[in-house]
């Protein structure tokens, strides 16, 4: 399949999925805003009203919202992309298509949704006094690298679920583990031992990415470009390997999906 046709198909499939998804619910596209708003509202109730700790306050709410609304992009995409080839068994049974088309469409679909979520995040930040500055331009490389990470993990997830359906159970659990281990509800930088901070940020790219979001948006600090580049290169390497595997084993994947 020519590359141009491939990308056209990724995009058109993503748009169709968005339309179909919105038409399932009475509130349709409004859910793109409502869902992240509800997350923030939930954080407010739990951390500012119920747990009335010294940390509570608008700053902590912004801290939570930034982490969670970035993380949501990763977790939702990877969960959905992982099941995308299996969910497309109807098409897989009928046409020999590049299997990466399905996870890539899922990635593209959530990209469109994430635009509204980032916009909402910007509004929240502004509302609580974090005025946009030119430093926010650092978000461009951060978001780009985060995207590469999402693509890599989505392709891996989709491949694994095809080969062994049991991974469909493991991947959501993995997401929950990441939710708790990547510093969404706590600040990586508050770990006492500086060496340990380094280890957490190196071993868990997710913790690094979420911290980078906050450093740029809340404190106006530039991200560690060297670290960012390493994550980007690692992700690109994985994407190339996974696309290669999916091409090489396209028909085996079809057999696995159909049997």
């Amino acid at each position: 399949m020519p590359l141009a046709q491939y990308f056209r198909l990724v995009d058109i499939q993503a748009r169709m999925l968005l339309k179909a998804d919105a038409s399932k619910f009475t509130l349709g596209y409004l859910w793109w805003f409502i869902e992240p708003m509800l997350w923030v509202a939930m954080f407010y109730v739990v951390f500012n009203v119920i747990l009335d700790s010294p940390r509570s306050g608008p700053d902590f709410l912004v801290f939570l919202a930034t982490g969670k609304l970035a993380f949501i992009w990763f977790s939702k995409t990877v969960n959905q992309a992982s099941n995308s080839i299996v969910a497309s068994h109807g098409l897989v049974a009928r046409i020999n298509v590049p299997k990466s088309l399905f996870p890539m469409s899922a990635v593209q679909e959530s990209c469109y949704k994430q635009i509204t979520i980032y916009a909402l995040l910007a509004v929240i930040l502004w509302f609580f006094g974090y005025t946009p500055t030119s430093k926010w331009l650092w978000m461009v490389p951060v978001v780009l690298v985060f995207y590469l990470m999402i693509v890599a993990c989505s392709l891996i997830g989709a491949f694994l679920v095809c080969m062994l359906r049991d991974f469909a159970k493991v991947i959501p659990l993995g997401m929950t583990f990441l939710l708790f281990s990547s510093g969404i509800f706590w600040d990586v930088r508050e770990i006492g031992d500086p060496e340990k901070i380094d280890i957490v940020l190196t071993v868990n790219p997710m913790a690094y990415m979420l911290d980078a979001h906050r450093q740029v948006l809340m404190y106006g600090n530039a991200p560690d470009l060297n670290h960012l580049l390493q994550i980007a290169l690692g992700s690109i390497f994985l994407v190339i390997v996974m696309i290669g595997l999916m091409r090489r084993y396209s028909q085996l994947l079809a057999l696995k999906v159909l049997t």
């Binding site: 169709m16 179909a20 109807g90 098409l91 009928r94």
Partner: protein
């Protein structure tokens, strides 16, 4: 690929000693290995309509999927003339349930290589021929099985493929549409179209096919002229039901 056989007709697609096994869940017979096809060899000639008959579960659909390049044989080889495309038309599958009939038709056409512009030009004729009316804009999950087959059949009919692989789609739908579909199929077959046709209907096989292959337990049991192979097949079924 040989290109031409003794009778001078050119080969579009050839299966040579194709075997397909797959590993299913543990605890079944033979260590969970299913043998679907066992050394199947066949040739498909340009512009012919080849029928495949056989009872349920003998590997007819799998044969079509291998021809379409969707599955790869465990051993043996499949060769298709370079640059030719094959597409499989089968019931119940091939749709994304949440998408409308229009979106599904668009997607199918584009997946078969049509540009967005070309795919769009197909859509109105697909809507018209399938007689789906307003349902064309509704999600496919709301369709009856007859409506699904109308959409599937029409989508394949309208988009251009070199080899059309048809899996029992002419056998559903109401009488009126069935007649219309068969007439359209006949017209297509008489033109420059290579077709492989799986059906349980003797009448359809007889009226549409030039040649027929009988599959039994993953093997080619007989192949050749339509009348004689069909007769052999019927006799074997009668013997089996008497025994």
């Amino acid at each position: 690929m040989s290109g031409q056989n003794e009778s001078g007709r050119s080969v579009m697609l050839e299966l040579d000693q194709v075997t397909l096994n797959y590993q299913s869940s543990k605890g079944t017979f033979d260590d969970g290995v299913h043998h679907v096809l066992d050394r199947v060899s066949l040739q498909l000639y340009e512009n012919e309509t080849l029928g495949i008959i056989g009872r349920n579960g003998v590997g007819k659909t799998t044969t079509l999927r291998i021809m379409a390049g969707i599955l790869a044989p465990t051993s043996g080889s499949v060769s298709i003339r370079p640059g030719k495309t094959a597409s499989l038309l089968s019931l119940g599958l091939g749709f994304k349930n949440d998408l409308s009939g229009r979106d599904n038709a668009m997607l199918a056409a584009m997946l078969q290589g049509a540009s967005k512009k070309l795919a769009k030009t197909y859509l109105e004729s697909i809507k018209e021929f399938s007689e789906l009316g307003d349902s064309f804009e509704e999600p496919v999950k709301t369709y009856s099985s007859g409506m699904r087959s109308r959409l599937g059949f029409t989508t394949a009919l309208m988009t251009h493929v070199d080899i059309l692989l048809i899996d029992e789609v002419l056998s559903v739908g109401d009488a009126q549409f069935k007649q219309k579909a068969q007439a359209a199929m006949k017209e297509r077959i008489q033109g420059e179209q290579t077709v492989v046709f799986v059906s349980h209907s003797d009448a359809q096989i007889q009226s549409l096919c030039d040649r027929v292959i009988w599959l039994e337990s993953g093997k080619v049991c007989a192949q050749g002229e339509v009348g004689s192979v069909l007769q052999e097949y019927r006799e074997s079924i009668n013997r089996a039901s008497l025994a």
